[in-house]
């Protein structure tokens, strides 16, 4: 444990250096995240003639800018790194290092955060300018935003890691993640705010883990929950994080026995 604590900052530094080295590509990846803006266009057009549900035009602007911000700040790409390294055999190198491969990948993904912040800062500025009346006025929900964002990132990272471990056994693990992404786009509130969903689907989305990845932090920023409700939801989010953490651990342990390093 102390070894991990000693080595992790170094891994973060290496990851950051790597992100800076590929900054042009990195920025292009960031700018490719524009789905919230595409959705904002249509909903803003719809809200010209009056609010839709509880969202006015400014309400939609605040929602989708906040969604963009959450998406930018909780990025992970471990599933593609895993499937690629497992297939071409470079994962053998990771296994040799004295620290768990998943921790190495998590450092890679976390280390990109400062650079992602550079893109996120303009979004925050526009958000504060356009959406101020729509944002939460309670300092408490802004405080909860920090653990909520961390939880959202952990859920995204751990789901990718879980599906990634399947690549130790099957070849089309990346396609499975693609399918998961399709469901997540709808059920996490990335495309449409959850409270505009028709009844039955809204109830379903409320219990599935997808909402904790995006919708929950966004709603915290918009101040849609009371303090008690927010705390309950945060507890539920972290319960999912713990479950996913355990499953990932078990899946990794049993999967790694099946791994035959190619080209070693």
């Amino acid at each position: 444990m102390t070894r991990v604590l000693r080595l992790y900052p170094q891994l973060l530094r290496t990851g950051f250096a790597e992100a800076v080295a590929y900054r042009a590509e990195f920025l292009i990846w960031m700018f490719s995240t524009n789905m919230p803006l595409v959705m904002l266009a249509i909903w803003a057009a719809a809200a010209r003639s009056g609010p839709v549900g509880s969202y006015s035009q400014e309400g939609f602007a605040a929602y989708y800018l906040a969604a963009l911000l959450v998406r930018l700040m909780t990025g992970a790409w471990v599933v593609w790194a895993m499937t690629m390294e497992i297939r071409d055999g470079t994962m053998a190198l990771r296994l040799l290092r004295p620290i768990h491969p998943l921790l190495q990948w998590s450092a890679d993904n976390l280390a990109a955060l400062p650079l992602r912040g550079v893109v996120a800062i303009p979004v925050i500025a526009i958000l504060l300018y356009v959406g101020r009346p729509e944002m939460s006025h309670d300092w408490f929900s802004w405080m909860l935003l920090v653990p909520a964002l961390l939880g959202a990132w952990l859920i995204y990272f751990l789901v990718q890691a879980m599906i990634g471990t399947l690549a130790l056994r099957f070849e089309s693990a990346a396609s499975l993640f693609d399918a998961w992404l399709g469901f997540s786009n709808v059920l996490s509130g990335y495309l449409v705010p959850l409270d505009l969903f028709p009844g039955a689907l809204r109830k379903l989305a409320a219990v599935l883990p997808f909402r904790f990845q995006l919708s929950f932090p966004v709603e915290l920023m918009l101040g849609r929950w009371s303090r008690v409700e927010a705390l309950e939801l945060l507890a539920a989010q972290w319960a999912y994080v713990l479950v996913f953490l355990l499953v990932t651990r078990v899946a990794w342990r049993s999967g790694i026995r099946h791994y035959a390093a190619y080209g070693g």
């Binding site: 042009a24 292009i28 719809a46 839709v52 495309l191 449409v192």
Partner: protein, 262 residues
């Protein structure tokens, strides 16, 4: 010309045969294409559950636009993107030399070199969406309207192809931007809405600079019988001009290309 057609046919056959080797992949990717069509439809269903009309478009009319979007996305991600990603890979590795040495036009050779046939599902999906849309409207489009829509579709594919060629031409100059094509793919997502959704600067950009209006809105208007002849002629002329410029830039950048292998 006949020679070019024969080259294209041989290329198509080779890349389809290549893709069909992976049969499980075929089934998996086909199922995924269906899922993503459903994901694309979802916001529209919620939207029109709340509103009878948005930006002057009814649900059925908007479905027609979405149908063209699904079809063109299939063309873009099933043929153009994979083929041109290969060019960028060639540039990076220096193997583009082998393509350039072949006794046929290089642009022709690279344009259809890799195809994902399962994206045909997108075209089928688009057909179903059109079917539902025109059933709701209550009358099928007339022959003239269909012909006009086909002409508009040709213009749309031409512009889409030209933009992809332009992006690849940039890759010759700056090798490090190999994900520029992804950026364009994500911007193309805007084309799922009719162009009247946008106002001010954005509507000008999406009509003239990055002609997304031409790709889905105009073919949809043609199919609905609402496209004026002037707009149709202007769109066709514009797309030919766009293709000419893209071809010229491709030729210039291929001349400036210095291989990475030597």
């Amino acid at each position: 010309m006949i020679r070019a057609a024969r080259v294209v046919r041989a290329q198509l056959r080779a890349s389809v045969a290549m893709a069909l080797q992976y049969r499980l992949e075929f089934a998996v990717q086909g199922a995924l294409a269906l899922l993503w069509i459903a994901v694309t439809l979802f916001p529209l269903l919620v939207l029109f559950g709340n509103r009878p009309e948005v930006a002057g478009w009814t649900f059925a009319e908007m479905l027609v636009v979405l149908g063209w979007f699904v079809a063109l996305k299939g063309v873009l991600e099933g043929t153009l993107s994979p083929s041109l990603m290969q060019v960028i890979e060639h540039v990076r590795k220096g193997t583009l030399d082998f393509v350039l040495l072949k006794p046929a036009d290089a642009q022709l050779l690279v344009s259809l070199s890799k195809i994902e046939p399962w994206r045909l599902i997108d075209l089928l999906g688009a057909g179903v969406i059109f079917g539902i849309a025109f059933q709701r409207i209550g009358r099928p489009p007339g022959l003239i309207q269909v012909l006009l829509a086909v002409a508009m579709l040709c213009a749309a594919v031409l512009v889409l192809y030209s933009i992809a060629i332009l992006v690849v031409s940039i890759a010759f100059v700056a090798v490090r931007v190999d994900n520029l094509l992804y950026l364009f793919q994500s911007i193309f997502d805007v084309a799922r809405w009719p162009s009247t959704v946008f106002r001010g600067v954005l509507s000008v950009i999406f009509t003239f600079v990055l002609p997304l209006a031409l790709m889905t809105t105009y073919p949809a208007l043609a199919l609905l019988g609402k496209l004026t002849p002037q707009t149709a002629v202007a769109a066709l002329a514009g797309s030919l001009l766009f293709a000419g410029v893209a071809r010229a830039i491709w030729i210039v950048s291929i001349r400036r290309y210095t291989s990475a292998s030597s």
